[in-house]
Symmetry: C2
Subunit: 204 residues, 2 copies
């Protein structure tokens, strides 16, 4: 269970965040490798407050907004958890199950649907990849790292490595999607009266 620890991390990075802030940040940075809905986040924050890991104060003005900060106990827990090992993440991809189902069923009418799903997957990978590459170009080009302390540079390098995981993941997803589409095209040239289609499949 790492959601509370992801939240603690987020609070260490930027103290005095509200549940809403955290939810939005989960939609961008941390959300790339750990998703959470706002309900989950609010619930978890309440639990963490009860456990003494975080504390909250009402935001100035008469809103309902509450801002949280990480307490020493929370920090200690985060250190403990970070050092502790864990089992590798489970892979669960319904598209692969669908492909296997199509293979087992042996009905050729399904390949059209699978092709569509693969194309969608491909564009998703390409979009994610492009956004990651933009972040990399913006935040992790060598010039930006001159006037920093060693500790800052360390953290920067770590964050870059994390981003690289995302980039590699999307690249391999993109490459596989293309390979899969080529394989489907090769066996099922359903509206490929044009002989050029075969060539497309070859050089992909």
């Amino acid at each position: 269970m790492s959601l509370p620890h992801a939240l603690l991390t987020s609070l260490v990075e930027r103290p005095s965040s509200s549940g809403y802030d955290l939810a939005r940040r989960f939609d961008s940075s941390i959300g790339f490798f750990w998703r959470a809905s706002h309900q989950q986040i609010y619930r978890e924050l309440a639990r963490m407050e009860k456990a003494g890991w975080v504390a909250s104060d009402e935001a100035p003005g008469h809103t309902r907004k509450r801002v949280y900060r990480c307490l020493p106990a929370g920090r200690r827990e985060l250190v403990r958890w970070t050092a502790e090992g864990g089992s590798p993440p489970v892979v669960r991809d319904a598209l692969l199950v669908r492909m296997r189902a199509a293979a087992a069923l042996g009905s050729p009418d399904l390949s059209g649907a699978l092709e569509a799903q693969l194309r969608e997957r491909l564009t998703q990978h390409e979009a994610a990849l492009m956004s990651y590459r933009e972040i990399e170009a913006r935040d992790f080009t060598s010039e930006r790292r001159s006037a920093e302390s060693e500790a800052q540079a360390e953290a920067e390098r770590m964050r870059h490595v994390i981003l690289r995981a995302g980039i590699r993941f999307e690249e391999s997803g993109r490459d596989w999607s293309r390979e899969a589409l080529a394989a489907l095209d090769a066996r099922d040239p359903h509206d490929a009266h044009d002989p050029l289609d075969a060539l497309d499949a070859l050089d992909a």
Copy 2:
């Protein structure tokens, strides 16, 4: 929710399987991209039987063993679900959260623990990759596909594409692990009194 459909697929591939058989097969083939415990499988089989997707008979001999088969309604459901789209799988990797936590905490004592976790991850990827490559060499070399019907060849190609997903995933995980280890070594040569360690990092 794809567990019932993964089970239906498994039953279409090999009818007259018991819950135990299915659980074991999930530990090998399908389990590479969809894990399930035996309790989950038994519960799901009971639900599916209630829904009229599968039927079961007692196995010969006086054991408690029950063997399941897929009913036409189950097959129809599987076709329907395969054609239907779905959102891409969520990525949730605690190791990346841990790295981000280490970066935020800025405590250098954590990098040793992270290095150990990365090395473990690396060997896992290498092991998985090796086993996938063995399967690929055994089942999907070009010679094996000569005396087959077109439908069989189609299914074979599909299964190969699925395996390729696993291979690419493990390759990119392996490559990233190496990259991450090199990055950690570069910044934190904690017991690298030996200058050779720097070389190790370079050619990884």
